[in-house]
Symmetry: C2
Subunit: 417 residues, 2 copies
């Protein structure tokens, strides 16, 4: 056991929001508030930006009940940021400022809740603090609906986004098929490089109420093959439901959404009118399908903020990840990210263990959907994926409703002097 380190803790949120980043952050806050070694708990306004600006919210002054609502409140309650620290050997300005703010509040614990870039930020700050001899324990708490972080079995946020996508695909499947006329419906999921989110549409298909075709960026997209895939299904059933990842690209690496951009449309002001991938695909497909009716559906922001249909498994794991970060830091650990390890209990059922990863290993590495989870034709998922994904979407979220709508946390956000 390392020697006790007594001081304040700060937690920050970074990168794109999710349904459960607040659950992780609450795991940090709750555990830190309860820990005798931690004298005060701050929430950084807009991540690292709040530290640089010395805008730290005093978590000790928040109502316990409101804090608890963070478990089921989507988005980043403390505010997020996309800010990349320069290397300290290039420019030390930011690091000096961070040190100054840490010293001012006697901050000895820094928890950063985010994706790849956030782990990179953690790692850089940690190295600097070690170099200048300021004792401080720094832990990364992962977050990304993209599920693309290195090492960890899965990422906090993914299960909830996957549950939203699978559920919504089932609902759209039922909706898009009600008429006795033909219908082709294209659903677009986020995922520029990794197809994890789109893969979740495969859960709906697995249960017989999902897309006929699913395309991920892990395999090159062949437009002619796509048209013949859709034709085959549409001609035999009169319907075709397709899920696509925004990042699908052809064998030359060109994004399909750019196919539309070519002939595209400049408006009266000289701006290119760029649509999303789903509507681009619909426009590209129309000439091949006579009078078929088309619909394009974008899951847009909803796939990352629909906390009302979050996975309770994801919520609880996220909380545990934040909690573990604090417990480990207090016990002497630093420079690690708390990820997940999949294990099984005595009955062979899914269990999720917490596992520490080196920050420097995680930063800037991407995990894609393994090819064994994608079918040969590149237009669907295999059972390997279903096996992987199902445990992550279990359990319905214990949302507090008030007046018929979710009661999300409302923090006071009192800035510490």
């Amino acid at each position: 056991m390392a020697k006790a380190l007594v001081g304040a803790a700060v937690v920050g949120q970074s990168g794109g929001p999710s349904s459960v980043i607040n659950a992780s952050t609450y795991g940090v806050i709750r555990t830190a508030l309860d820990d005798p070694n931690i004298t005060r708990v701050f929430g950084a306004a807009h991540g690292i930006r709040g530290i640089l600006d010395d805008t730290l919210y005093d978590m000790n002054q928040e109502d316990e009940k409101e804090l608890e609502l963070l478990l089921h409140t989507p988005s980043s309650a403390l505010g997020s940021v996309r800010y990349k620290l320069k290397d300290s050997d290039v420019d030390e300005t930011d690091y000096k400022r961070i040190l100054e703010v840490f010293k001012k509040h006697n901050i000895r614990y820094f928890f950063y809740n985010g994706g790849n870039d956030s782990m990179d930020t953690c790692s850089k700050i940690s190295k600097y603090m070690q170099k200048v001899g300021y004792e401080c324990r720094i832990m990364g708490v992962p977050k990304t609906i993209d599920n693309d972080l290195f090492g960890t079995d899965h990422c906090p946020g993914y299960g909830s986004a996957a549950k939203y996508i699978a559920t919504t695909c089932m609902e759209v499947y039922l909706d898009a098929r009600v008429y006795d006329s033909g219908m082709i419906c294209i659903m677009e999921c986020m995922g520029r490089h990794a197809g994890w989110l789109t893969a979740a549409a495969g859960i709906a298909s697995y249960f017989g109420q999902g897309p006929d075709l699913i395309y991920l960026p892990e395999k090159d997209f062949d437009f002619d093959k796509f048209i013949s895939d859709v034709k085959r299904i549409y001609e035999s059933t009169g319907k075709c439901l397709v899920a696509v990842s925004e990042g699908i690209h052809d064998k030359d690496g060109k994004f399909i959404v750019e196919y539309g951009a070519e002939n595209a449309p400049v408006d009266a002001f000289g701006h290119k009118q760029l649509g999303g991938l789903a509507s681009t695909l619909v426009n590209l497909m129309k000439p091949y399908f006579g009078k078929a009716k088309f619909r394009s559906v974008e899951f847009s922001l909803m796939q990352r903020c629909a906390a009302h249909i979050a996975s309770e498994t994801d919520v609880q794991e996220s909380f545990n990840s934040g909690k573990t970060a604090v417990l480990e830091a207090v016990s002497g650990v630093t420079d690690k990210m708390v990820g997940y390890e999949r294990t099984t209990d005595e009955n062979g059922n899914y269990k999720c263990g917490m596992k520490l990863f080196d920050l420097s290993d995680v930063a800037n590495t991407e995990k894609k959907v393994p090819l064994e989870m994608i079918n040969e034709e590149g237009n669907g998922l295999t059972d390997k994926y279903i096996e992987y994904a199902l445990p992550l979407i279990q359990g319905e979220p214990k949302i507090t409703f008030e007046n018929g709508v979710p009661r999300f946390a409302r923090l006071k956000k009192i800035v510490a002097e």
Copy 2:
């Protein structure tokens, strides 16, 4: 009490699907199955189309448990249709065929679940049956997320769509505000003529987590005023969240979505590339807002099929509406639609009574959002609307989940000989 009429019943679904049309239909089916006067219960495949084609599913052969799942299964489980009967004095062909099929199965009860057009269909068939002296009781069971049916206080389907929109607006509100950089986000709801759906965004605003500005088609949309509304809010807060109804139009009656169509874009195949209203607005706004970041979000099909966040009040009322239609028909009533009357219980709390409306009054009349529910400026809702809407979105749906996703009904659909 009218003389008992013994025979089979048929129920059909028509028009756009909703989260609760199956709940109404289940109200009909369950009650009809339990009624001694009703000898058999059929579900028409794709509404009136299924009657014309004599494709009637035998509801007596369905599992009770599956039928019960209809309560929380979105979309039209029997299949829907958009088919307008000609007037019988113009062309009797369809009517003769309907009579033939009714006679074949001894159908004495016809329940039609749908919107304006469906009430029109009911009314026409009823008149024909009376003319030819075929004894038959015909009842309309309302349905429309648009909430625009005449007479009834509100429409089955509206509460659920409103709950989805209010909840999603709150979630998007939290999501769209996380960064410390500027953001303008336009959310588009359905509603070509009536703004009821978009109005539901006002519920989120009422609770402090919704759009800053809301525009309905009931008031003329002034683009310059709109730009200055957005500028005022964006310049003072750095964010602006807007909800718009797809049918907003200027004082000359021109749809705003057509503003985009003008300079629009023809692709390589000569097709006009038309975006939705939200993306059109974003393109029109960009020149006025320098480097602001924009997002357009379309609630698309989700707003009418997101059964997982349906209003349980809506589900139960819808069931009751179907149930009442059967009980009334059996007791001798015909030619009516079962709508809602708002009353209060002894404590002054909302209660929803069932009320009968003449089919011919309902057909082809539209109810818009009254101006007293819209603010003076035409960019938000008044408390009158909130008072009206809140009772309709209460209660969370008792969805059955299986493997982490909703377990929707799967009917056998055995076609009756």
